[in-house]
């Protein structure tokens, strides 16, 4: 992928992530988050991780954000759009962001191994999804099954939580 696409997509991602934080309406925040996730999927594709990019679009930008929008519209949150930012929280947030950004910049600029460009990779007969599946099922088989149990438990938990009366 040409370098200018990296800058375009990372700029888009950061811009819409900022809009998630700054916009007042929850629906606009959720839609900005969708755009941010789509740009992030493009960044994954620029890193030759096609499977992760597709999963990002399908699971995050698709399923998770539909769930968010569904809940936002179910709760009908219009009345809360006009609350103001509190001053102490704003100052501490800006302070933490500046310190944290400075720290990341310092750490990354001292990281000599990260200053080289993309190493060449072989484009063999097997594609990206084949390799991810091979690694998943040969080295991470047990965690994969545990994830299945986790999703089952989460499903049961959500059904119990959304019953009419909680005991």
């Amino acid at each position: 992928m040409p370098p200018f696409l990296f800058w375009i997509f990372s700029g888009l991602m950061l811009l819409f992530a900022t809009m998630v934080v700054l916009l007042r309406q929850p629906v606009s925040s959720a839609l900005s988050l969708v755009v941010s996730f789509l740009a992030l999927a493009a960044l994954y594709v620029s890193l030759d991780a096609f499977f992760i990019g597709v999963i990002q679009i399908m699971v995050y930008a698709g399923a998770v954000m539909v769930l968010f929008l569904f809940i936002i519209m179910l709760l009908d949150l219009k009345a809360e759009a006009r609350r103001k930012f509190q001053l102490p929280a704003t100052f501490s947030a800006i302070g933490v962001v500046v310190i944290f950004g400075f720290m990341i910049n310092k750490v990354v600029s001292g990281f000599e191994m990260g200053k080289s460009s993309f190493p060449a990779i072989l484009h063999g007969p097997k594609n990206d999804v084949w390799h991810v599946g091979d690694t998943l099922f040969s080295y991470f088989n047990l965690p994969f099954q545990v994830i299945g149990v986790l999703i089952l438990v989460a499903t049961v938990g959500v059904v119990v939580l959304s019953k009419r009366e909680l005991k």
């Binding site: 990296f6 991780a49 995050y60 769930l67 501490s92 944290f100 080289s116 965690p143 986790l150 938990g157």
Partner: protein, 105 residues
Amino acid sequence: MVTLNNYLLVSGMLFTIGLAGVMLRRNILIIFMSLELMLNAANLSLVAFSRFHTVEGLPNYNAQVLVFFIITVAAAEVAVGLAIIVALYRQRQTTHVEDLNSMKF
């Protein structure tokens, strides 16, 4: 020329934006979305490390499998979290974190 440091810097900035969202916003749904941003920042740095640390001419696929697991767990977490928020809204008719202070000391 795009380097690993560029990706790490973008990932760090995304994490910082998510952190600011958690601190700045008072709507629990927006806080939840900012948490998702922070998770995605971690995913981006994992995929970047996977691409730049090649094993036998291939990206390190262990990191991509870890990202796959993170996305799965995050989807389950979103479902449970939103169910909790809906249950909370049914009890209190609010999603504003400052109205939820009954456990405050």
